[in-house]
């Protein structure tokens, strides 16, 4: 049954691209909307029969083994939500119907790739779905074929290919040690294998995932790609692609294959802390709205990696919740950045000012987004950071916990600067005629802001139903 998540969009794509008339192009938008809504709803109500039922004819034809657990459900919700937002923004940002159709095709391919990543249980299928997602995102970044987009796409392509090469090398070494590609077999044979080869393979694989996730010191491509991509693509990249390809895979592989052994934990926590600090300091010095959000993403991804590095059930729950929160509020901030960019035709924060008079909803939702990023209660970002901090404290990493708290202040600093430069203060010259964007973008902003607030207020419900069961991935 889970294979339908992959097969239905693929079949839909084939039908949509058949040369049987123009009405298919108009149908593409609604098909994608239905697809992403269905994905989110099925994942939210995950006790339904849809996940456990069997379809013998389909299973006989499509023999990729998939597994479903609570981590997968949370990722499904993130993938659906971010793709949905990106789609609605694209409808307003792209005037041409043909362009929108191309975008929807690539968006569906990327989301199929990500759904595959979060369901697979062998390392070879993981590689295939990672590549599907990456290939769709190269094309999406270069979508407008302008110089900036091409540059960002080329940098991402080269680094992503290097990451792929590292991962394939490590897959070869895993096969050498265990003779198979499934997570469980490799995980079982790692203890008995040759120590040097095993550590080399683990190290190489983690480097590859760090490149895909944009963790410092492998973050070079990330600000360029986020900044140069068209607005809906920035939302998709920042909201979910780097997280599904890099961070989710890191959590899954570490828990299912490597196990939380001491060297892995040390690497994760060190890389996480360096990312937090580097991203925050770099964000302080930016003048470009989207570039600042990109560095802020690096910093928040650092929190996720740091939380996952504790290796306890609480730490992983915190990391996964922060991953969810980050996809929601970073999408929200990128949606607002795209609204501002579209109105002002620039991303330079020094040329903005006083926009809260002209764009009150954008300003208010941005405030919700950045307060949640900084971890102000009762917004959802507070709870995830709290979980990560408690996990760090329980495992005795007091220095890392202190740095994580202090870096939150840095987060507040650069976001307050952003809010003051862009939205508060006197209205800058030449911005008298700026208006709010269309209803679609405002709907996305408001919905994402309500999810941020709601996830904070109803945190106990989410904790009991979605986060607590995640510890099942540790018991193998």
């Amino acid at each position: 049954m889970p294979s339908l998540i992959i097969l239905v969009p693929l079949l839909g794509l084939i039908i949509l691209n058949m040369p049987i008339g123009n009405f298919m192009r108009r149908g593409a938008f609604w098909f994608a909307i239905a697809l992403f809504s269905a994905q989110v709803l099925l994942a939210v109500f995950h006790h339904s029969l849809a996940w456990t039922g069997k379809l013998p004819p389909v299973d006989a034809l499509f023999k990729v083994g998939f597994t479903i657990d609570h981590l997968t459900f949370i990722m499904f919700i993130c993938i659906g939500l971010v793709s949905f937002s990106s789609l609605l923004v694209a409808r307003h940002a792209m005037g041409d119907e043909g362009e929108l159709f191309k975008f929807i095709n690539l968006l569906i391919i990327a989301s199929v790739g990500m759904s595959g990543i979060v369901m697979v249980k062998d390392i070879f299928s993981l590689y295939i779905f990672l590549e599907i997602t990456s290939i769709a995102s190269f094309i999406l970044i270069a979508f407008r074929k302008d110089v900036y987009g091409l540059e960002g796409a080329f940098k991402y392509l080269v680094l992503s290919a290097v990451a792929t090469i590292l991962m394939l090398t490590s897959i070869a070494l895993f096969i050498l040690v265990s003779g198979d590609t499934s997570f469980s077999t490799i995980g079982a044979s790692l203890q008995s294998g040759n120590r040097v080869i095993v550590m080399l393979a683990i190290g190489i694989f983690i480097c590859g995932l760090f490149i895909k996730g944009g963790v410092v010191p492998f973050h070079g491509w990330l600000p360029d790609a986020y900044m140069s991509a068209p607005a809906p693509v920035s939302i998709l990249l920042a909201g979910i692609i780097t997280k599904a390809a890099g961070i989710y895979t890191l959590i899954r592989i570490t828990s299912a294959v490597f196990g939380f052994i001491e060297p892995v934990k040390a690497i994760l926590m060190l890389a996480g802390t360096v990312s937090i600090l580097f991203g925050a300091f770099a964000a302080l010095g930016q003048n470009d709205f989207k570039r600042m959000l990109a560095y802020s993403s690096i910093s928040q991804i650092g929190y996720i990696v740091l939380g996952a590095g504790t290796g306890t059930a609480l730490g992983i729950a915190g990391a996964v919740f922060h991953l969810f929160n980050h996809s929601v509020f970073k999408s929200l901030l990128f949606v607002n950045a795209s609204a501002v960019e579209k109105e002002l035709k620039t991303n330079d924060m020094n040329r903005m000012g006083g926009l809260s008079y002209r764009m009150p909803i954008t300003s208010a939702t941005s405030m919700v987004g950045f307060l949640s990023t900084c971890g102000i209660p009762p917004l959802s970002g507070f709870w995830s950071k709290l979980l990560i901090l408690i996990a760090l404290w329980q495992t005795g990493h007091f220095a890392y916990a202190t740095i994580a708290v202090l870096a939150s202040v840095l987060t507040l600093a650069y976001f307050l600067m952003m809010q003051r430069k862009v939205f508060f203060g006197k209205l800058a010259l030449g911005l008298e005629n700026v208006k709010e964007r269309g209803a679609g973008i405002m709907f996305v902003s408001i919905a994402l802001a309500f999810i941020t607030i709601g996830a904070g207020i109803f945190f106990p419900v989410i904790y009991n139903n979605f986060l607590l069961p995640i510890k099942e991935i540790l018991v193998k």
Partner: protein
């Protein structure tokens, strides 16, 4: 591993490492977009060879075959996209120098 397999592995291992070094050197030194793509190709060839050898040593020839064929397919797609990007860059800049791709920084 028996002695015979060890010998096979060391011969192939030498060439795998050689290909890795050549590819990495090419990727680091070159200033041309197409040469960077070729460098990536050389690196992927090294990995492909490694996969084949690993399949032979562990006796999983069928698994290695299916892996290698998939790797080749995906690699072709990546090269096509890289070629498309190189072509578009050439149309904008009239050359393929990566030093002119430095508009984004900060």
């Amino acid at each position: 591993m028996s002695l015979n397999l060890m010998q096979t592995f060391s011969i192939f291992g030498f060439f795998i490492i050689l290909l890795f070094i050549v590819g990495t050197y090419c990727l680091v030194v070159t200033r041309n977009i197409l040469r960077a793509v070729i460098a990536l190709e050389i690196l992927i060839k090294a990995v492909t060879l490694l996969l084949i050898v690993v399949g032979y040593i562990t006796g999983n020839v069928a698994l290695a075959q299916s892996l290698v064929i998939t790797v080749i397919v995906i690699e072709v797609v990546i090269v096509v996209i890289a070629g498309g990007i190189a072509l578009s860059v050439f149309r904008h800049n009239d050359d393929l120098d990566v030093r002119r791709l430095q508009n984004l920084k900060g």
